[in-house]
């Protein structure tokens, strides 16, 4: 394959193969292409800036109507009612409760699967299980939402008869299962990149597989595992469709997972479904909510970055 391409390189250049004179035309073309590629790479920075600009621009108009103090301390979120209250706390509580449940499911199970796959499982099991987990991560979130509402909630109602039709609990549980593949695959990658000689050293002094995994491999892979956890938190906080379908859309200041409540993302979906005029206060609330969400995920991203830097292991 390469020899054919090397030949084509020569053929395309044709005339110049025997002529090594410096060619301005060629040089210019190279520079032009490099500029194009640079622009493409720079485009990602443009996206980030436009996200931040857009959210801040609309939020500023919002905060001219509503004081930041009211936004942060008011206990009701009813921007579309006649008696409007603009307190973000109910949306934050819904987000925190559903994310916590999701993480309580995803982190232990994901880590267990990762340790199992990287330290215990045979080659065959690993080769079958990994693609399977990847497929699980590829299922659209709307399908998980359907599953939470029509399968998990009725199932939970058998065990907990008082559970309402919409609840943070079932949304959180399904979200947790949805995040398992992310946690397990990133954690496993981190553990597999730990050099073999560390394990060999551990086995040589008589440690079992479990001891090696917990006391040698996991600390060595700490930075990668922390990154995986942070990513999981970020995903749980930003996840939309599962909570929008299964947790209900009533903003509700509660820490009780058995109740229904709206998350920040569910609120944005709910408002977008209606026909909101551009520039109205309702339109601006979704940008203010979006900015809050972006700030929360940004904090976790930075935290992850710092953690990784602080604990980076060099082998």
């Amino acid at each position: 394959m390469y020899s054919k391409n090397i030949k084509s390189t020569c053929e395309k250049r044709g005339r110049s193969t025997g002529n090594l004179r410096y060619s301005y035309k060629r040089h210019l073309r190279e520079k032009f292409i490099e500029l194009l590629l640079l622009l493409a790479a720079f485009f990602s920075v443009v996206i980030t800036f436009s996200i931040v600009f857009m959210l801040i621009k609309e939020s500023i108009t919002f905060f001219q109507h509503v004081s930041i103090w009211e936004f942060l301390t008011e206990k009701q979120w009813t921007p579309l009612f006649d008696d409007a209250h603009y307190g973000i706390l109910p949306l934050v509580s819904g987000t925190v409760v559903s994310s916590t449940i999701a993480l309580l499911v995803a982190l232990p199970l994901g880590t267990t699967i990762a340790i199992y796959l990287s330290e215990f499982a045979s080659y065959t099991v690993r080769e079958i299980a990994k693609p399977f987990l990847e497929l699980l991560g590829g299922i659209p979130t709307i399908v998980y939402g359907y599953f939470a509402l029509l399968f998990v909630t009725p199932l939970l109602q058998v065990i907990i008869p008082d559970l309402p039709g919409f609840s943070l609990l079932s949304a959180g549980l399904v979200m947790g299962i949805m995040i398992i593949p992310y946690v397990s695959s990133m954690t496993e990658d981190a553990m597999r990149s730990v050099p073999m000689h560390l394990r060999e050293g551990s086995y040589a002094i008589g440690a079992t597989r479990f001891q090696t995994a917990i006391k040698v491999v996991m600390p060595a892979a700490f930075s990668g595992i922390a990154a995986a956890y942070i990513l999981a938190i970020s995903r749980a906080v930003g996840e939309t469709m599962v909570v929008a379908i299964a947790a209900g859309m009533q903003p509700n200041l509660t820490w009780n997972p058995m109740e229904q409540a709206a998350t920040i993302t569910a609120y944005i979906v709910q408002v977008s479904l209606g026909d909101l005029p551009h520039g109205s206060i309702g339109y601006q609330t979704i940008f203010a909510a979006g900015l809050t969400l972006l700030l929360i995920t940004l904090i976790f991203n930075i935290l992850g970055h710092l953690l990784r830097k602080r604990y980076r292991e060099t082998y």
Partner: protein
Amino acid sequence: MSDEKKLEELRVVIARHRLWDLIFLISGMLALMLAILTFIALFTQMLIDGAPRLSWDFFTSFPSRRPESAGILSAWVGTTLVMLVTAMAAIPLGVAAGVYLEEYAPRNLFTELIEINVTNLAGVPSIIYGLLALGLFVYQLGLGQSILAAGLTLALLILPIVIVATREAIRSIPVAIREGSYALGATKWETVADHLLPYSAPGILTGIIIGLARAIGETAPIITIGALTFIAFLPPSPIKSEFPFISFEWLTAPFTVMPIQMFNWVSRPEEEFQFNAAAAGLVLVVMTLAMNALAIYLRYRMRKKIKW
């Protein structure tokens, strides 16, 4: 203490640790089983509810107020067109950015900024992209709630996936290939276009397929830009009978996509619509799973075939 006794104690310790090993082995297998069983439960539930609704009519009918005659025609046509726009925008941009970062970029602050930025973009929740699109595409640029706006939104969303896949694919090509090309007098771009891109094509393709599979299932950003949930007509045809034969009117047409159609049906109180939702979900899952499976297969084959 006699040696015999010491040995006995040691055996107890070893046995205990062996037991822990076994306990963990079993819990690892159980955790894996739980994940797989959930998938099976999800699929079975959808199959039981949705399979009876799957028929030729389901694919060729518009949504309707009567659940038994509602179909997904406008949804799958919409999805196809939106994906077309997404692919046209995300592939050239993503591959070009990946090539730049891997082959051209000097190691300086500016490059590092771009790199940190790409990583961060991958962690931004998808609904935030929806808000960006609502403000920028729908209102600032005046694209309206159109196929074009939706396609571009999803393109931005999967851009980091394409960039990362391109970089990884190019990075795995040994330096010797580049040296060989330069030794023959090729320029940087000739090396990239004639050697690096062709050899990394399967890897890049894998990333693109995974990105598109993700885009097909994305619901939130499309809802945010205001996709309609009930559409009983098709966008104008891209091929016309008179000159110039190709029309781009469809780009500005209102649309709906599969996940939104499904969301609409799930959130209705009537039970019959939920069977429709299950059927639409089944189609959606089969589509995304097929794409993901193709990507996994491609990567597997690539790993086996290429020996640098």
